[in-house]
C-alpha cells in the first residue's frame, strides 16, 4: 500500500530553526492498530524528539458507506443502520434520525413517547460519558477508573436490554414514537439507578479530580480557544469547555427538553481538564433530567399516526440533536418515494477530530493520546 508515502509527502509542515545537532525528525505512525486511538484511527505524527510538529489523520478504515446504504433502503429499513455509527450512543443516533423523518412527514411524537425518548437518551449520554471517562483515564495511565465505569455502565445497559432487547445497538425508537411500551418495573429500575449513580460519580472524581498527576496531565493540555473551536465547528462538551454556552437541548429544544430544568456546564480554558469537568457535570445534569422525566411521565399512546408505508413529500430537511459527542445532524432529501433520495449525517466525532491538529501542535506525544481521548471520538461515526 503506497498511501503511507503519499500521506507523508503531503505533510509539509514548517520546520523550526535548525538545531545544533543535525538530528532527523521522527515520523511515527500511531495506529491504525494502537491501544490509544480508540479504534482504527491512524495519526501520522511528525516529531522533534518528543515534541509534536504536526499531525495528519488518516481515517476511513471503518467506512461502510452508511449514506449510500440509506439511498437503497426505505426510511424504516434504514433506521437500525444509524445505531451502527456511534455505537456507544446508539439511542441518540436513533432519536436524531427518527425526529428528522418525523419533521419531514410533519408528525409529532406523542408526549409519552417523548418522555421515554428523553429518559433513554439521557441514560445513553451517561453511558457514553462513562465509556469516555474510563478509556480516557486509561490513556493517561490510570487503569482503575475503567473498571469502575464499566461496572456502573452495566446498570444502564441492563435497562436498555430490558426495554428493547439490545444492549449496544438498541434501535429503541421508531419513526413516529416508540415501538415498545415501558416494561413493568422500568420506573423502579430508573429510580434505582438515580439513587445508585451519584455516589459512583463521586467515586470517579475522588480518583481523578484532585489527583495531582491527573491535573498536571490535563491542565493546559490540548487547549482550544472559543474562537478556534467555533471556526473548526467543534461542538458538544469540547465547545462548552472552551466557554461557549451552547447546547442544542437549550438553544433549539427538540423532543420535550424545553420542559426540563437543567444547566449547561461550561469551562473557561478549553483544556483537557475543563472538558473532563464539563462531562462530569453533564452526567449529573443528565441525572437531573431523568429524575424530572421519570416523575412526570404521562400516560397515553406512544406512537403517532404514521402511515404504514412512509412516503414523505418532496423536500429537504436538516435536523440536529445534542448527541453526547456534539451536534449530530441529519440532512434528508426526499424525492417523494419510499426511499430517501439522500441522507447526509453530520457526525460530531468527524468534525471534532479535525481540531486534533491545532490542539496538539507543540505538545508532547503523551498529550496526543490525552487529546484523542478527550475529543471522545468513535471511529464508527467518524468513518460511517
Amino acid at each position: 500500500m503506497n498511501d503511507r508515502t503519499d500521506a507523508l509527502s503531503n505533510l509539509d509542515l514548517e520546520t523550526p530553526e535548525k538545531p545544533y545537532l543535525d538530528s532527523n525528525e521522527l515520523i511515527i505512525n500511531m495506529g491504525p492498530q494502537h491501544p490509544a486511538t480508540h479504534g482504527v484511527l491512524r495519526v501520522i505524527l511528525k516529531l522533534d524528539g518528543e515534541k509534536v510538529l504536526g499531525t495528519e489523520c488518516v481515517i476511513g478504515y471503518l467506512h461502510r458507506g452508511v449514506e449510500k446504504i440509506a439511498e437503497n433502503r426505505t426510511y424504516t429499513m434504514f433506521n437500525p443502520y444509524v445505531d451502527r455509527m456511534d455505537y456507544v450512543a446508539a439511542v441518540s443516533n436513533g432519536l436524531g434520525y427518527c425526529q428528522a423523518v418525523e419533521k419531514l412527514l410533519n408528525v409529532e411524537a406523542p408526549p409519552r413517547a417523548n418522555y421515554i425518548r428523553v429518559i433513554l437518551t439521557e441514560l445513553n449520554r451517561i453511558a457514553s460519558h462513562q465509556l469516555w471517562l474510563g478509556t480516557h483515564a486509561l490513556d493517561i495511565g490510570a487503569m482503575t477508573p475503567l473498571f469502575y465505569t464499566f461496572r456502573d455502565r452495566e446498570e444502564i445497559l441492563k435497562i436498555f436490554e430490558k426495554y428493547c432487547g439490545a444492549r449496544l445497538t438498541t434501535h429503541a425508537f421508531r419513526i413516529g414514537g416508540c415501538q415498545y411500551e415501558t416494561y413493568a418495573g422500568f420506573e423502579k429500575d430508573v429510580k434505582n439507578f438515580l439513587a445508585f449513580f451519584p455516589p459512583k460519580i463521586d467515586e470517579y472524581e475522588e480518583l481523578l479530580t484532585g489527583n495531582r498527576i491527573w491535573i498536571e496531565r490535563t491542565k493546559n493540555v490540548g487547549v482550544i480557544s472559543a474562537k478556534d473551536a467555533i471556526a473548526f465547528g467543534v461542538t458538544g462538551p469540547v465547545l462548552r469547555a472552551s466557554g461557549v454556552k451552547w447546547d442544542i437541548r437549550k438553544a433549539q429544544p427538540y423532543a420535550n427538553y424545553a420542559d426540563f430544568d437543567f444547566e449547561i456546564p461550561i469551562g473557561q480554558n478549553g483544556d483537557t481538564y475543563d472538558r473532563y469537568i464539563v462531562r462530569m457535570i453533564e452526567m449529573r445534569q443528565s441525572l437531573r433530567i431523568i429524575e424530572q422525566a421519570i416523575n412526570g411521565i404521562p400516560e397515553g399512546p406512544i406512537m403517532a399516526k404514521v402511515p404504514k408505508v412512509i412516503k414523505p413529500p418532496v423536500g429537504e430537511i436538516y435536523h440536529s440533536i445534542e448527541a453526547p459527542k456534539g451536534e449530530l445532524g441529519y440532512f434528508i432529501v426526499s424525492d417523494g418515494s419510499t426511499q430517501p433520495y439522500r441522507v447526509r449525517v453530520r457526525p460530531p466525532s468527524f468534525v471534532n477530530l479535525q481540531a486534533l491538529d491545532i490542539m496538539v501542535r507543540g505538545m508532547l506525544v503523551a498529550d496526543v493520546v490525552a487529546v484523542i481521548g478527550t475529543l471522545d471520538i468513535v471511529l464508527g461515526e467518524v468513518d460511517r
Partner: protein
Amino acid sequence: MNSAMAPGMTPVATPFFFYLLSGMAILSGLLVITRRNAVHSALALIVTLLSVSGLYFMLYAPFVAGVQIIVYAGGIMVLFLFVIMLVNLERVIRERQFNRMWPVGLAAACALLALFLSVFEKGKSLFDRASVPLSDKFGPENTQQVGIMLYGNYMFAFEIASLLLLVAILGAVIMTKKRI
C-alpha cells in the same frame, strides 16, 4: 566491619581471571575501532570498561572499580548510546572506515606504546615488586584511603576539578538552551 581483604579471603585462580579480563578488554577494544556500526562499538567499549573494572577489583581497589562501573559504564556510555541512536547511522556506515591519515595514527600509537614501555622500564626501581597487595601499604581500607587522599592531600586539586566541571555544565546548558 569486614573489608575485601579480610584475612580469611583467598583469591581464586588469579592468573586465570587476570588473563581472562585483560584478554576481554583487548579484544573488545579492538572491536571498538573495527566495528562499522557505532552502537556495536559503544557496546564493545562497555565490555572493555567492565573488564578493566574487574581488573581493578583484582588489584584490591574496589572503589575505583565501582566508580568505573557507575560513571563510565552506567552513565557516560548510556549518554553515548543516547546520542548515537539519534544521529543518522546509515550515512556513517556508508562512509570509509579509515581515512588517509591512518599511518600517522598508527605511528602515534606506536610512539605512545614506546613511551609507556620506557617509563615502565625506567621506573621499575620505584615500585616494590614484592607480592604484597597494593592496599596493605596504605592501610586496611582502600575506599577510606581514597577519601582521605582526595579530601586531605589533594583537596585543592579536587576542588579545582569540581569547579571546572561546574563551569562545563553551565556552559553546556547555556549553549544548548536558547531560553532558560
